[in-house]
């Protein structure tokens, strides 16, 4: 007979040294290779995401610097046209897919359980799996580049240029399969974030007490769930066209090249919001800390975030205004692209009002966040300028668009990320980053960025097309390009200062207290760096700002942090209801396991087999996934299955 579910009333107690010791023993990983490969600790996975994505940022940056040297003067010959094509394609692919979302996943993986007042994500093994797949897909996407066969038709990879007759070598095959591979990681991560937000918040963290940082990532990941399949399908169909002679994009046999563009941008535009909304929510979470007051209009910012993501699915055609679509379609999508400005701008007004009515403390993190507001406005304005069809026809495929995309992606992604690292580095490492180096870091990056990218607006208006490997002196673009190259190098030195700051701090930084910035959210309630179990007793949340309740007066409830439910039977966390966060179950979370790594390696094997046309390898790896998945999901008492008595 099966055993009935056991019920337990969690003991409410204060944390004792014995309890902490017991939990540490239970949650820590072994200091062995096995421990390193099998960990499911969200903090370690978050670290890995952050480090890997920063490495990709540096690689993409070096590619960009090589291109800037090539373009610094007319008629340069540093890079051949073929190599230049690979550099701009790899740069775009790296920055968009291997840096900008993974770095945000790093923040979220590390911070979510801490902010939510719990001990791990809803699916810790899936979390490890998403990292391994991301890492292997990143390596996969780069294998061609070392052989001189990197993808070379731009990150948006338009057919027919990307089809077999015009691109016979491996370049695009690697990109196509690599993107399908990477999509597995993105989708699995999105599933995990959604389940975590709806299931594992600390008791009492009702939907109205969910911090803004969670909202940005949650909304963006729900968007990704619906957007990523479009691009995976698109790349898979392209690979079939190239490999098996199907005709999805071949107009002579009933296909159509615009199908590629539709599916790509149905994914592509929501993706843009998916990589800026979490970064904006970093600003919304951390900027108010340095203004010594809560974010102005929290609810409006949350609703605007949701609305931006929803509308983000209805503007993709503005990437295709020059492809000869019907006027009605262009009118609709142009209007939609103007409308999305409204919810996007709500955050800007909220941030400005927060600074205006607060008492700003000018730390490095604050400077990065404040700069983000400025760059967001510039990038936003150049964005809705090109939402107007006639202007878009004039500016499309010029450096004006290059300026726009960099103001948006560096302005709203890189600046909040670096600011966010200054903010959370003490929590992650237990050391304070140097503010002195931070001053240099910020001003070099801010000045270098604007010197580098603002002139691109002008060279674009002067008619300089994007993706050209050189230009004749008679065009008169030489001076602008020289300024851009100088700015790019100043920006790169700024990034280098950041890397130096991190290394110096790790070696000899000042020790960080639990809450160095006197911030309001739960991650600051535990030690820096947090113990493996995050919280010795589970906090109970009574307001949106658990650590600021004493000074915010009588509004809102009271959180209880100093004592709480003791969950000390293996890996336990409370499961709570979706709206009211009432505890309704004690969840049993899995222990470290190699299953995620094994499965990720088998998927990698499948894709390598497909790339090399070694069909038996691909099929063999696919079949091996079945026992691997059975092993992963096998019922264990430790994960809360019932056992035959």
């Amino acid at each position: 007979m099966a055993v009935n579910p056991t019920f337990r009333t969690p003991v409410i107690a204060r944390p004792t040294p014995e309890l902490k010791e017991k939990l540490e023993e239970m949650w820590k990983d072994e200091h062995t290779l096995y421990g390193w490969l099998s960990t499911v600790d969200h903090k370690k996975i978050g670290h890995r995401y952050l480090v890997t994505a920063m490495i990709f940022l540096v690689m993409g940056g070096l590619e960009a610097l090589a291109m800037r040297l090539q373009l610094a003067q007319p008629d340069e010959h540093l890079l051949s046209p073929e190599l230049y094509n690979q550099f701009f394609s790899m740069h775009g692919m790296t920055m968009i897919f291997l840096y900008s979302l993974p770095i945000l996943s790093g923040f979220s993986n590390y911070l979510w359980p801490l902010i939510l007042g719990t001990r791990d994500m809803a699916f810790p093994r899936l979390n490890a799996f998403t990292y391994w797949v991301f890492l292997l897909a990143g390596i996969f996407l780069y294998i061609g580049f070392w052989e001189g066969k990197g993808t070379d038709v731009g990150w948006f990879n338009y057919v027919p240029l990307a089809s077999r007759p015009y691109n016979p070598d491996w370049n695009v095959d690697i990109y196509s399969l690599g993107m399908v591979f990477l999509g597995v990681s993105t989708t699995a991560g999105a599933i995990n974030f959604m389940a975590t937000a709806f299931r594992t918040r600390a008791p009492g963290m009702t939907i109205s007490r969910v911090p803004i940082m969670i909202w940005g990532t949650l909304v963006s990941n729900i968007g990704l769930l619906f957007a990523v399949p479009a691009v995976s399908l698109d790349f898979f169909m392209l690979w079939c066209d190239r490999q098996f002679g199907t005709h999805f994009f071949d107009p002579s046999m009933g296909g159509h090249p615009l199908l590629w563009q539709h599916l790509f941008w149905i994914f592509g535009h929501p993706w843009v919001y998916a990589i800026v909304l979490p970064a904006m929510s970093i600003v919304s979470q951390a900027l108010p800390v340095y203004c010594r007051r809560p974010l102005v209009a929290h609810s409006a910012v949350v609703l605007a975030t949701i609305l931006t993501m929803v509308l983000g699915f209805g503007v993709w055609v503005h990437h295709m205004f020059s492809t000869g679509l019907p006027v009605v379609a262009m009118g609709f999508f142009s209007a939609a692209s103007f409308v999305i400005v409204i919810p996007s701008a709500v955050s800007v007004f909220a941030w400005v009002a927060t600074i205006w009515t607060g008492r700003p403390v000018f730390t490095t993190a604050f400077k990065f966040f404040a700069a983000e507001i400025v760059l967001f406005v510039i990038g936003g304005v150049s964005g809705f300028m090109t939402a107007a069809v006639p202007l878009d026809w004039q500016l499309t495929d010029t450096y004006f668009v290059v300026a726009h995309i960099h103001y948006v992606l560096i302005g709203i992604n890189v600046f909040p990320v670096i600011g966010g690292l200054y903010h959370w580095f003490p929590k992650m490492s237990g050391k304070m980053l140097s503010e002195k180096l931070g001053w240099w870091n910020f001003w070099l990056m801010f000045i270098g960025f604007n010197v580098g990218f603002f002139p691109m607006h002008i060279s674009g208006l002067a008619g300089m097309p994007r993706r050209i490997y050189t230009y004749p002196a008679s065009m008169g673009w030489g001076d602008l390009n020289l300024i851009t190259t100088i700015g790019a190098f100043i920006f790169a030195i700024g990034v280098l200062v950041f890397v130096v700051n991190v290394i110096v701090t790790l070696l000899a930084g000042r020790k960080a207290p639990a809450n160095p910035w006197d911030a309001d959210s739960l991650e600051w309630a535990t030690e820096s760096p947090p113990p493996s179990y995050n919280f010795a007793v589970i906090p109970r949340v009574g307001s949106l700002h658990p650590l600021w309740e004493s000074r915010l007066g009588e509004q809102g409830g009271r959180s209880i942090l100093e004592e709480g439910p003791v969950l000390d039977h293996e890996h336990e966390i409370p499961g709570t209801t979706v709206l009211d966060a009432e505890p309704d179950v004690i969840l049993k979370q899995p222990h470290p396991t190699l299953a995620p790594l094994i499965l990720a390696l088998l998927i990698a094997g499948t894709f390598v087999g497909m790339l090399m046309s070694m069909w038996w390898v691909a099929l063999g790896c696919m079949c091996a996934m079945v026992p691997a998945l059975f092993y992963w999901f096998w019922p264990r008492r430790a994960t809360g299955w019932e056992m035959r008595a």
Partner: protein, 204 residues
């Protein structure tokens, strides 16, 4: 202590392990279905998009025969019913009935897969014939792959039930597996109507 406890966070007996209805697995499966449903929606979008641009008759190489797809559809529709019956059995505390129900459901799934292989052999076009053929095969092949995954899930459920891991108190795994199975059947209905039935009634 004069701290005011909110009533909802008061200590009370809580089930330990897999319990309740909206479990982590339930949310995970819901999200997975959202992503998979989008994948099929984008495939059908591509189909309708290329059909709308086609200057030739659609489908260009002849109508897909119904002699395998129609019985396959019936098999899947019945399997949705047996899946529902299986879950109900365990809710009523009858593990042996659950095993029977799961085995019948997965055999119906296998029957559908076999019929679909026969259907591919009977089609008047190949993936490389034209864009319609390419879309027809990628959509049906994607569904067959998902159905094979569904059958494997049902095998796992039957094994775990036989080993006594599932009971009237804890049948979350069955709920989640059933969600996936219903999704498979629903998507197939959309595919069957689009790929097999519409060509017969639309002018071509």
């Amino acid at each position: 202590m004069n701290t005011v406890y909110e009533e909802r966070t008061l200590p009370r007996p809580l089930p330990v392990g897999k319990a309740g209805f909206r479990t982590s697995g339930w949310w995970g499966m819901l999200a997975l279905i959202g992503a998979e449903a989008s994948l099929f929606a984008y495939m059908l979008f591509s189909y309708f998009y290329l059909q709308s641009l086609s200057t030739q008759p659609w489908p260009p190489s002849g109508l897909p025969p119904l002699r395998y797809a129609a019985p396959g559809t019936v098999a899947l529709l019945i399997s949705a019913g047996t899946m529902w019956w299986s879950r109900r059995s365990i809710m009523l505390g009858k593990p042996p009935q659950l095993t029977i129900g799961l085995v019948v459901t997965l055999l119906l799934g296998v029957l559908y897969v076999i019929l679909q292989f026969l259907d591919w052999r009977a089609e008047p076009f190949l993936p490389s014939s034209d864009a319609h053929g390419s879309l027809f095969y990628i959509i049906t092949a994607a569904h067959v792959l998902h159905a094979i995954a569904g059958v494997l899930i049902l095998i796992a459920m039957a094994v775990w039930n036989a080993l006594g891991h599932i009971s009237a108190q804890r049948y979350v795994a069955i709920t989640v597996a059933a969600m996936y199975w219903y999704f498979l059947v629903l998507v197939w209905i959309a595919i069957f109507i689009t790929l097999y039935l519409l060509p017969y009634i639309s002018p071509h």
